[in-house]
């Protein structure tokens, strides 16, 4: 959605217009869902987190003021906080950090579905990144945020975000290419 159109929808949503809130949901739901999916692992958890996120968004709308933070960044800040709250309350929740303690426990079984295997590849590749790089990649490719929006979320300049993304992509490309060739991969940490 174009920024001006988005501003208009946001303004209507802040005023409590249900149709506008529906439009806002349609604009961001897929991206937020995918962002939550990579953190939650289980689709059911992602669905639950999606609902919680949007309820928080609606609850926070009356207090939303642009103040330099793009609306998309505001939504993903809420999504991120929702993930953090969720992982605090549920110890069995498989966050990226938790996965790093057991990187191989879901890898390799032939019976795993292709999608699950692909997910595991990507999660494992993400774990090769530094925390900042990983955050940038998730915001960029899962949440679909622009470097400017990511910058405002992470409190960094746009150029810094682009550089982090560039370095992260080098690592990911190398890691994922090796996995496709069946070569062993070694953590760069």
């Amino acid at each position: 959605m174009h920024e001006v159109a988005l501003d208009r929808v946001v303004a209507k949503s802040v005023a409590g217009d249900q149709a506008a809130i529906g439009e806002l949901y349609d604009t961001f739901a897929e991206r937020v869902y995918r962002f939550l999916l990579v953190h939650a692992r289980e689709p059911a958890d992602a669905e639950d987190l999606l609902q919680r996120t949007f309820l928080k968004v609606i609850e926070g709308l009356p207090r939303y003021e642009a103040r330099g933070l793009p609306f998309a960044a505001w939504i993903f800040r809420i999504a991120r906080n929702t993930v953090i709250d969720h992982s605090r309350t549920r110890r069995d929740h498989a966050s990226l950090d938790a996965v790093s303690d057991r990187p191989d426990d879901r890898r390799g079984p032939a019976e795993l579905a292709e999608v699950a295997s692909e997910q595991e590849d990507i999660r494992s590749a993400l774990l090769m990144l530094t925390a900042d790089q990983r955050e940038v990649i998730i915001y960029r490719f899962f949440a679909g945020l622009t470097p400017r929006e990511i910058g405002s979320l992470m409190g960094r300049r746009e150029g810094s975000i682009r550089a982090l993304q560039f370095r992260a992509m080098e690592v990911l490309r190398s890691r994922l290419a090796r996995r496709e060739l069946g070569q062993p991969v070694r953590s760069q940490a």
């Binding site: 217009d17 869902y33 609902q51 609606i58 692909e118 590849d121 990507i122 550089a163």
Partner: protein
């Protein structure tokens, strides 16, 4: 080494990485597919909780198909109901029962939430009268969500429970008047809603009990014992209580004009008291020597 110290990427690096980004984005989409059913479910659940009463009334197919005069009448009725609801709220707030004490200032968020549920109740009634069962069901569901928000707000520290109790009792009264008009299909939801409201009210102090929330009022506890050294006017419908000091010293202040030292409240018992004729002077379990 920070990213600033790294050599700039070559043109070749840039080109190949651009391709890598595209590949990675495609892999992400394949590996983390969107479940449209999940999105739809969440959409329904989320939008059902959006407090947006007025546009729904106006946008209902039933409403659009009404003759102009009927639509005008519905709008006028809805406006009138909201005005009445607003007046009730404003009246309640201007009375001594909802004026802040030193510690318990009415929180704007709480007041807004209470206003919202009160206004929606008005709209529910208007919608019932406009014979739009589908919208009634949605609004009752929204009302349930409103009450949940209110319930949450009341758990926050500093919540003005006395104010909330007064407002919610008014709303419970309004809700009760609707019972006969709620469409049969929505009776289950309506009953659930009434139960929910009763449950919230049950957790709140009885405004008829002790200490006044008036600025000059005392600090008596809901059961009417101890505290209460102020000279406030009590609540308009106070039933006694909040008398005297815990040590029972004579002269212990009484924050309720309706109660006498022995707990046998009399309406208008004190020259200071400003209780309205609504005060029913119920005996309070006074345990001290308070005086009027």
């Amino acid at each position: 080494m920070t990213w600033r110290e790294l050599p700039p990427p070559s043109v070749f690096d840039r080109l190949t990485l651009r391709g890598a980004e595209r590949d990675f984005a495609e892999r992400v989409e394949r590996a983390f597919p969107i479940d449209p059913d999940a999105l739809a479910r969440v959409r329904d659940a989320v939008l059902a909780k959006v407090p947006n009463a007025a546009p729904r009334v106006l946008s209902s197919p039933r409403f659009r198909s009404m003759p102009t005069w009927q639509r005008s009448a519905s709008i006028a009725m809805a406006v009138a109901v909201v005005a009445v609801a607003g007046a009730v709220m404003a009246g309640g707030r201007s009375g001594s029962s909802i004026v802040a004490t030193g510690a318990g200032v009415v929180r704007p968020a709480q007041a807004v939430l209470l206003d919202r549920s009160a206004a929606r109740l008005g709209f529910v009634l208007a919608t019932i009268q406009a014979r739009d069962p589908a919208t009634v069901a949605t609004m009752l569901a929204d009302l349930r969500s409103d009450f949940l928000h209110v319930q949450t707000a009341l758990r926050r520290p500093g919540a003005d429970l006395a104010a909330a109790a007064t407002s919610l009792r008014v709303q419970a009264g309004d809700l009760a008047t609707m019972a006969a008009f709620v469409p049969a299909a929505d009776l289950g939801l309506y009953t659930e809603l009434s139960g929910q409201l009763d449950q919230i009210i049950a957790t709140l102090p009885d405004p008829a009990g002790g200490g006044s929330t008036h600025p000059g009022g005392g600090n008596g506890q809901p059961n009417g014992n101890s505290g209460g050294n102020g000279n406030g006017n009590g609540q308009p419908n106070g039933k006694g209580g909040g008398n005297g000091k815990p040590d029972g010293t004579p002269g212990g202040g009484n924050d309720n004009p309706n109660a006498n030292p022995g707990g046998n409240a009399k309406p208008h018992a004190t020259p200071r008291g400003t209780a309205t004729p609504r005060g029913n002077g119920k005996p309070a379990p006074s345990n001290a020597g308070g005086k009027d």
